[in-house]
Amino acid sequence: MNSAVRELTYSQAIQEAMAIALESDPRVFLMGEDIGVYGGAFQVTGDLVERFGTDRVIDMPISELGGAGLAVGAAMTGMRPIFEFQFSDFATLAMEQIVNQAAKMRFMLGGEVSVPLVMRFPAGSGTGAAAQHSQSLEAWLAHVPGLKVIQPATPHDAKGLLLAAVQDPDPVMIFEHKLLYKVKGPVPEGHYTVPIGKAEIRRTGRDATIVATSIMVQKSLEAAEILQTEGIDVEIVDLRTIRPIDRETVINSVKKTTRLLCVYEAVKTLGIGAEISAMVAESEAFDYLDAPIMRLGGADSPIPYNPELEKAVVPQVPDIVAGIRNLVQGRR
C-alpha cells in the first residue's frame, strides 16, 4: 500500500479515467453537450478539451438521439466513444439508439460486429432540479439484454469501472449519482480497472444484509454505524453492477446474515430491488431467511422541487435504520 493515500473527488476520478483513456488509446473520444470549454454541466470533463483538443472532446448540438446514434456508428467502425448525457433524464430522448441499436446490433448481425460504447448518465435527486432532471432510470436500461449497466458508489470505483468500461467490447451504461461528484475518497494513480459484474462487500456483518446501489451505499454505511450502537451488525453489499448482477456475492451474504434489505433511490416498484428479491427468493438462500425480504426505494412519484418533499420521496438514513430494526427485531 502507498503510505500517502491520495484522495480525489468522484468527478475528478472520472475525469482522470477519461484522460488516461484518451492518452492511451487513440480510438477513444468524448462526445456530449457542453463538455468542451464549458467543462460539462457538472464539470466532469473539466479542462480535458484543452489537453486533447476539440477533435477528441466533441461538443455536440443538443441532439441526444442523433448524438447517441453517432456514437453507436462510431463504435461499430473502430472507435471507442465515451458519450455523456448532460442529465440521465435525457436518455429518454435517445432510447431508440440505446435500446434498439446499441444493445442489439451484435446479436442481430450474428456476432459480426461489436459496439464498444460507453455512455455516462448523471443521475439522481437532491439537487433541487425537480422532476425532469432528477430521475434514476438505470433499471430501464438494465432490462435490456445486450447492455451492461453499472453504478459506481465511490471515487475509486468510478475510475476503475470507467476504465473497465472503455476496454469492454460491449455497450456499458454508467449511472453516476450527481450528489457523489463532490465526495472524496482514495483513488490510486495510473491505470487500473474494477471488474464489471462484481459486487463489493463494503462492511461485513452478521445480522442482516443490505444490498445497496450508488449513493445508497453511503447512506447505508451511515445507518450501519447507528445500528451498531444498538448492537445490530449489518453487512453492506455494494452491487456496483446491476447488469449482469453478481449473484454469488448477494446470495452468500444473505445465507450468512439470514435477512435482506434492498436499498435504492430509483422508484421502488419494478426496480432493481425487485430483481434482487426475486433472485434471492428463487435461490438456495431462501431456506436461510429468518425474515421476509424487504425493499426501500423511491416513492411512486416524480421527484418534487421543494427540498423537504424531495427528501421525502427517496430513502434516507433514518429509513434504512428503521428498516433494519424492523427486519432484525421482527417488527413490520
Binding site: 448540438p61 441532439s63 442523433g66 446514434g69 456508428g73 472507435m79 431508440e96 448481425l109 459480426e112
Partner: protein
Amino acid sequence: MKNESKSKAKSEAANVPFAFRAYSPEQLRDVLRKMYLIRRFEEGAEDSYTRGLIHGTMHLSIGQEASALGICMPLNGDDQITSTHRGHGHCIAKGAQVDRMFAEFFGKTTGYCKGRGGSMHIADVSQGNLGANGIVAGGIPIAVGAALSAKMQKNGKVVICFFGDGANNEGAFHESLNMASIWKLPVVFVCENNGYGMSTSTARSTAVANIADRAAGYSMPGVIVDGNNFSAVAEASSAAIERARRGEGPTLIESKTYRHRGHSKSDRNRYRTKEEIDEWKELRDPIALFESELRQFGILNDAGIEEVRASVEKEIADAIQFAKDSPMPNTGAVLDYVYTELPQ
C-alpha cells in the same frame, strides 16, 4: 468545318448518358446482372414465403433496383453503407452473395446473421454493409457515426446512408443531417422516395414538395434524380461521393422511385390504384429502361440480355438450394452474440 464536326461529336457525347461514358461494357453488363439478381432474389424470397419456407415478414424493393445499384456503383469496396427494412437490393448492390442471404431468410447458420437477424437485419459487414434496420431512420445517425470514424481515422472511406421517404419526418433524420453538415462528414444521404411510408403518401405526410428541399435547411446540396434511371442515379451518386471524399461534406440525394409490391406481406394495397401500379410497372420499370439503353448504345443485344437472365436464374436456384440444405441453429446456442464472448 473542322470545328463543326468537333462540336457535333461533343454534342453527341453529351447525349450519351453518364453511365455509358463512365463504365465499361463489362461493368454495365454486371449492373444488369445485379438488377436481375435483386429482382429474382426478391421473387424467390416471396415465393419461398408463400410456400411457408420463410416466416415473419419482408419488405420487397422490386421496382427500385436501379436506385440501389446506381448509388453503390461509384463506391469503393471498403466504403460503407447503412440500409433499411427494404434493404435486400442495397445488400446485393454492395456485393453480398445471394446464397448466404437466402440462408439468412431461411434462418440457417450459414446466413449472414447466422439466422438471428432475418430479412430486416440483413448485413454483410465484410463488404461494408453495416446492416439493414428495422427502425425507420434508425440507421441514419449510425451512418453519420461511421462517417465520423472515417474522418477521425483519416481512412478516406465514404458512407452511404439509405433511407425511405418515411424517415424524412423522423427526428433522427434532422439531427443527423445537421451534425453531418456542421462537421463536414463524408456521408451521402440517399432518400429512396417510393411515394409511400407504408400507406401514407409523401403528399399527406411531408410539408415540402420534395424531400431534397430539406437539404437547404442543413446547408448541403439537395439533388433530385429519377430513381428508375440507373445512369441518372449513378451520376448523382458519383458527384456526391466525390464531394464527400474531398472533405466538402454531405449531400442529400432524393431518388424518386416506386415499389411494385406492397409495403410488407400484410399490405392490401388500399391506398393506391391498380392503374398507378400498372403505369410504373409497364412504363417505368427500371430494368426494362436499362435494357433498352443497353441495346441503344450497343452494349448488349437480345441474346446477350437473355444470357444474363439465364445465368441469374441458375444462381438464384442454386442459392435457394444452398439455403435449404444448410443447418438450422442449435437452440442451445440461443444466447450467443448477446454479448461479445471474451477470450479466456
